[in-house]
């Protein structure tokens, strides 16, 4: 479940026209969400509140062997942010849960930068009883740039300050990063290839997106470098409109290759698989994950529709610019609509095909929004680690609840690569169990 403050941060990015998915950091977000989701440990309760249109607060209590707590405050001067944030009663479950990320084609970035005002976000969270402070400042300086400073301050241990300078021109997203931890400096880049008409099905319509990215890191204190590169391809099935994502990652220094395939098999199911292979040690791993979504019954659906009418209208206005998101048509030309009108007579059959394919994809997308999901079961397993993660997330009387467990077969205190093959087959036993409750106004 996405925490309230994280939701506010994502809404801030959405409100200021910053694309979260157009970043190398999140290039494999879909498969990470489906395979490596977090299982809560112990009991955790969170209460969040929007005290003024500009300030947000969260109070958290958790009981994991010890009673811990945290208090978080956030201030932002972004105008209209309150329209993007829903409370825990009205929020759609697919927005509150980390799940399949729909990658928008490149042309959309141009539209979202028409009205830009510099805005900033200030955030602080104090953990008790350790008195560790988590602080963050995010500043949108221009339509293409963002500056982020994150700090983890502790009086007893070493503090870490990390600075990010990000520049996203739509086609390229570059990030320069400096961290006080080991004097780490890094550079990340993501490049989107501009799509053209689909060559496979003789249609002008194309909603796929191909991106390639890489990162370079260097630790000044320990003079150790690191790098990796990733290719991502997202598209929709032409016949059914179902989205799918493929990624291929390579780490040249460690010889690690990883490939993922994720698909929304139906409006209520998402499947992801990942294959890891190391060229040097010839070790491999195969992971599977799936999400099974359950819709509410018709009665509650109707009621929810009434309740959500306002929220839905906000959401529609929020995604107003997204409405033509799936036709990635002649992305190179700005006056594509005019050009389309001129070509209307000449290519009548092709244009008819565009509308047909676009409507299939939009129909699938609308079925997700209208589904009124009330709960989701999430399962993930990995053959090498011999573990099974089960997580249930759902809404109950205005609360967002997530409960889960992790079952494992190996010794609990050793990392998976040190675990010897068990001599006799033993049963899975829970290594982690937890329930998390979230309520926000």
């Amino acid at each position: 479940m996405i925490e309230y403050m994280e939701q506010v941060l994502r809404s801030f990015e959405l409100c200021t026209g910053w694309s979260r998915d157009n970043s190398y950091e999140n290039i494999t977000a879909t498969s990470e969400n489906l395979l490596n989701f977090d299982v809560p440990a112990g009991l955790k309760c969170q209460v969040s509140n929007k005290s003024t249109p500009n300030t947000y607060s969260t109070f958290e209590l958790s009981n994991n062997k010890l009673i811990n707590g945290s208090l978080a405050y956030l201030y932002t001067n972004c105008k209209g942010l309150e329209n993007y944030i829903s409370n825990s009663r009205d929020i759609q479950l697919q927005d509150a849960s980390e799940t399949y990320r729909q990658i928008r084609p490149l042309y959309r970035h141009r539209d979202s930068k028409k009205e830009f005002e510099p805005s900033s976000l200030w955030y602080g969270r104090m953990y008790y009883p350790t008195s560790t402070l988590e602080a963050m400042v995010a500043k949108r300086l221009s339509p293409e740039t963002q500056f982020v400073a994150k700090c983890l301050s502790s009086l007893a241990h070493t503090s870490v300050l990390t600075l990010y300078w990000q520049k996203d021109s739509g086609q390229n997203c570059q990030e320069w990063i400096a961290s006080s931890n080991e004097g780490l400096v890094g550079y990340r880049v993501l490049h989107n290839f501009i799509g053209s008409q689909s060559k496979l099905n003789s249609s002008l319509y194309n909603n796929s997106s191909l991106s390639i990215g890489g990162e370079l890191w260097f630790g000044l204190m320990n003079t150790s470098p690191a790098c990796s590169t990733t290719l991502r391809y997202c598209t929709h099935s032409a016949n059914t409109g179902k989205p799918l994502t493929l990624t291929l990652s390579w780490n040249p220094l460690f010889g690690h290759v990883s490939s993922t395939y994720s698909v929304k098999a139906s409006s209520g199911a998402t499947i992801s698989s990942k294959y890891d292979f190391n060229l040097y040690s010839i070790e491999s791993n195969l992971s599977f994950g799936c999400d099974l979504w359950r819709s509410g019954n018709k009665k509650s659906k109707l009621k929810a529709h009434e309740d959500l009418s306002e929220a839905a209208s906000t959401r529609n206005s929020k995604y107003a610019e997204d409405s033509p998101m799936f036709y990635h048509l002649m992305a190179g030309s700005l006056n594509s609509q005019k050009l389309l009108d001129d070509l209307n007579v000449t290519f009548a059959s092709s244009l008819h095909k565009i509308n047909k394919e676009r409507s299939i994809i939009q129909k699938f997308e609308n079925s997700l929004i209208d589904a009124n999901f009330t709960s989701v079961w999430r399962l993930s397993t990995s053959l090498r680690d011999k573990n099974l993660k089960v997580l249930w997330e759902g809404k109950y009387k205005g609360f967002l609840i997530s409960a889960g467990t992790e079952l494992t077969n190996g010794p609990l205190d050793l990392p998976s690569n040190l675990v010897e093959e068990p001599k006799s087959a033993s049963f899975f036993r829970p290594s982690k169990f937890g329930v998390q409750l979230q309520y926000s106004m």
Partner: protein, 60 residues
């Protein structure tokens, strides 16, 4: 600091600098949340009272 020649910084000034550094870190550490709250208070037009700003619990 050990590799610097001793005539650049005396031990006392080194100690003083360490003290100033740790003091400023402590101030920033405990002052950050009040600072974020102050920003929220100062930029809200009707100047909400402190309790409603501090309380994370939803106001009735």
């Amino acid at each position: 600091m050990a590799y610097l020649p001793s005539f650049i910084l005396s031990d006392e000034s080194k100690e003083r600098m360490t003290k100033i550094f740790s003091l400023s870190q402590t101030v920033a550490h405990y002052g950050w949340l009040p600072f974020v709250l102050y920003l929220g208070w100062a930029h809200t037009s009707n100047r909400p009272n402190l309790f409603s700003l501090l309380s994370p619990l939803p106001s009735v």
